[in-house]
């Protein structure tokens, strides 16, 4: 029988641990931004003197671009600091300390694999991935705002609409990012305002690739991999109808919903989600489908030829006939631009085969008329959006940092002795 040592990583592990730099060696955690099913996102800055040669180059280029764009924002001098968003994946944890290795979740695998490959101005940029002590940290560039915040800001201030120039630049940049993803055979599958970040200088950054995947050459249908994709309010009708072989058009539906939400400052199809009672049967989302039908009318094989092929088609029989009231909805929220309406209509097209592609939407008539879009969606805005709130009363990473760094932040001996103990 084998001795215990052959079953472990042995000397290799020791060699690796000695040279490894920890996440807290490199970054100072400022607080946490948000938490969700995936884990937590922290706001962090670089510890001065902590970067090695290798990293300095990337950081410098970041710093330069920050400094250049900073000229428009004289008062934001603390933004010149190098800020990062660190996503820590939830593991099999108790009190923030992960007890066992359990294997990376599919979502963590996707985010690592895809973030590493993607580089585009409208996709949140990966800085580095750190795997340490059973935890996974993905470090991204920091973005000060997200669309959910921006929508809240406007709706709380007496429903003042988002200025058209900003709205239009935001929409175009979202489509630009989505187009980049689709051209690289990746669909996002969770586009929603909360996942669309905006930097303090008005650049859209699409984030959260935890549900994204490559869609070329699938080994099995998409449904087998993930029974439910896209947050309910942004879920395309072909998904609601149980489509197994869906296309990147599902992302364009979500973009259509986001467009409508930016205009109306509330979700256009705010359905109630039917909860999944057991994992085997996925319920039909009757209420969500109803919210869509209420505005877009009931789909028919006439305007959606493959409609009767969908697994949940029979559920549609229970709906009364509604006519398309999208134009009324559009007028009711105070809009009148016909090109904008046409863009909205073609994004919220029932038949995914007819729905506009991201690449084509970039040159939609609406974007070719003034005001023209800009890479800074906030250019000339007479007000500033509030900064992202961070919470510091958390346990977990922050606590760990306080334990190890607060008293003696520059005491490198203390850090390395801690490391040695863990070995």
């Amino acid at each position: 029988m084998a001795s215990n040592s052959i079953l472990t990583l042995g000397s290799y592990k020791n060699r690796k641990l000695i040279s490894k730099k920890t996440i807290l060696d490199t970054y100072k955690i400022l607080g946490y931004i948000a938490s969700g099913t995936y884990g937590k996102v922290y706001k962090a800055e670089y510890r001065s003197g902590s970067f090695n040669n290798n990293k300095t180059t990337t950081i410098n280029s970041n710093a330069n671009s920050n400094a250049n764009s900073n000229t428009n924002h004289k008062n934001n001098h603390d933004l010149k600091k190098l800020l990062f968003a660190i996503k820590k994946f939830k593991g099999d944890s108790r009190d923030g300390e992960i007890l066992h290795y359990t294997g990376l979740s599919q979502s963590a695998c996707r985010e690592i694999a895809l973030s590493k490959e993607l580089k585009h101005e409208n996709i949140i940029q990966l800085v580095e991935i750190v795997l340490e002590k059973k935890s996974i940290y993905i470090v991204f560039e920091f973005a000060e705002h997200d669309l959910l915040q921006i929508i809240h800001f406007h709706s709380q201030n007496g429903l003042k609409p988002i200025p058209e120039f900003s709205f239009k630049s935001i929409m175009w940049q979202i489509l630009n990012g989505v187009s980049y993803l689709h051209q690289n055979w990746i669909f996002h599958r969770d586009l929603k305002p909360a996942n669309i970040m905006v930097t303090y200088d008005g650049i859209i950054k699409i984030g959260d690739l935890g549900l994204a995947r490559k869609f070329d050459n699938p080994l099995q249908n998409f449904y087998t991999g993930d029974k439910v994709v896209v947050t309910i309010w942004y879920r395309a009708p072909e998904l609601l109808l149980g489509g197994r072989h869906y296309t990147p058009a599902i992302d364009l539906w979500a973009v259509g919903c986001i467009l409508a939400e930016l205009l109306a400052l509330r979700p256009i199809f705010k359905g109630e989600e039917a909860k999944i009672e057991n994992r085997r049967t996925i319920p039909f989302q009757t209420n969500q489908m109803f919210k869509i039908i209420e505005i877009l009318g009931k789909p028919t094989v006439k305007n959606w030829p493959t409609l009767d092929k969908y697994p949940e088609y029979q559920h549609l029989q229970n709906f009364k006939a509604y006519s398309n009231k999208l134009l009324t909805w559009f007028h009711n929220i105070g809009q009148s631009n016909s090109n904008l309406f046409s863009l909205l209509q073609t994004l919220l097209e029932y038949d995914p085969a007819e729905r506009i592609a991201a690449y084509d939407a970039l040159v939609h008539q609406y974007f070719l008329e003034p005001p023209y879009v800009s890479t800074n969606a906030f250019d000339g805005l007479p007000f500033k959006y509030p900064r992202r709130k961070i919470t510091t009363d958390t346990t977990d990473l922050l606590q760990l940092q306080n334990k190890n760094y607060k008293r003696n932040p520059n005491d490198l001996d203390a850090i390395s002795s801690r490391k040695r103990q863990k070995v």
């Binding site: 029988m1 084998a2 001795s3 040592s5 052959i6 079953l7 472990t8 990583l9 042995g10 000397s11 290799y12 592990k13 060699r15 690796k16 066992h100 290795y101 359990t102 294997g103 990376l104 599919q106 695998c109 690592i112 694999a113 895809l114 590493k116 490959e117 991935i129 795997l131 059973k134 995947r213 490559k214 050459n217 699938p218 080994l219 099995q220 991999g225």
Partner: protein
């Protein structure tokens, strides 16, 4: 102890990986990705530092997830234990822990492209390609490219028959050929597919891009389909219109000729080494290595 990361060991490791993949009923894509992970990991880590069987299991486990055909960690672990009961711990945390180190060692670059897709694309192009029409307008540039490659690389040395054949024929007039395209037979596709499979034992997939391995495999598959012997193949190539056509196609397509030659040679060398493959001694060596750590 004489074990080293040589071709013998590589053949054995890849055979082990394929055995595990078969138990798990994997498609070719995750298998190929796992093989790349294995080869890349062993570039920077010594075989003496780690448990090779656990490494194989971990590569397969991670590749399945990345290729969107995940297997539960328990399934991968128990199938591995069935195959190598002495060497795989009955503890999922060991496999999961190794996954962390594997991902780090791969520098988090997990997306891999494979030649199988290129093979199908090339098959389609070759079957519809009308060489004469295209060559008519571009013959001069074809000649220049092929010659410049021939001149500036050592591959044109005389003792390299394959290279000189490729070079000498790449400029020959296409209009002398009576065929306009190549319809690869099922047997040839199957053979090319197998050459691609075997290329994963070598470092080729880490050195040249996927389409190079694909076209090299097609070349080899046409080459062997005529059962040519090595001694007189130069003459036979000249008589084989399909090979000549392919050579012209390669020259015309401006695919990196040196890389193709390197790939073909690497694969041929692999088969030569395979004849001396001794599984028993490798198995014993690994056992000795692991039990005496």
């Amino acid at each position: 102890m004489s074990i080293s990361y040589n071709i013998n060991l590589r053949i054995y490791l890849h055979k082990c990986l394929l055995t595990l993949s078969r138990k798990l009923n994997l498609k070719i894509q995750p298998v190929a990705t796992a093989q790349i992970y294995l080869s890349r990991f062993l570039i920077t880590v010594s075989i003496k530092e780690i448990n090779l069987y656990l490494l194989i299991a971990t590569c397969v486990y991670l590749a399945c997830k990345i290729e969107e055909s995940a297997h539960h960690i328990r399934t991968v672990l128990s199938e591995s234990r069935n195959l190598w009961p002495e060497f795989i711990p009955n503890d999922i945390t060991k496999l999961a822990e190794f996954e962390f180190y594997l991902i780090d060692e791969l520098e988090h670059c997990l997306v891999v492209h494979h030649p199988y897709k290129s093979l199908i694309q090339l098959k389609n192009v070759l079957s519809t390609y009308d060489f004469q029409i295209l060559a008519g307008s571009n013959e001069d540039t074809t000649l220049v490219n092929a010659n410049s490659v021939a001149n500036n690389k050592a591959y044109s040395s005389e003792n390299n028959l394959l290279a000189s054949t490729l070079m000498n024929n790449s400029g020959s007039s296409a209009s002398s050929l009576s065929i306009k395209n190549i319809q690869l037979t099922d047997d040839e596709i199957q053979a090319a597919w197998s050459f691609i499979n075997d290329s994963y034992i070598t470092d080729l997939p880490l050195i040249v891009p996927p389409h190079i391995i694909a076209i090299s495999s097609i070349f080899l598959s046409i080459f062997i389909s005529k059962k040519l012997s090595m001694s007189n193949y130069l003459n036979l190539i000249k008589q084989n219109e399909r090979l000549l056509f392919l050579i012209n196609f390669i020259a015309f397509s401006k695919i990196n000729l040196n890389q193709i030659i390197e790939s073909i040679q690497e694969i041929l060398i692999l088969y030569e080494s395979w004849s001396k493959y001794d599984e028993k001694s490798i198995k014993d060596d690994i056992k000795f290595l692991l039990l005496n750590r």
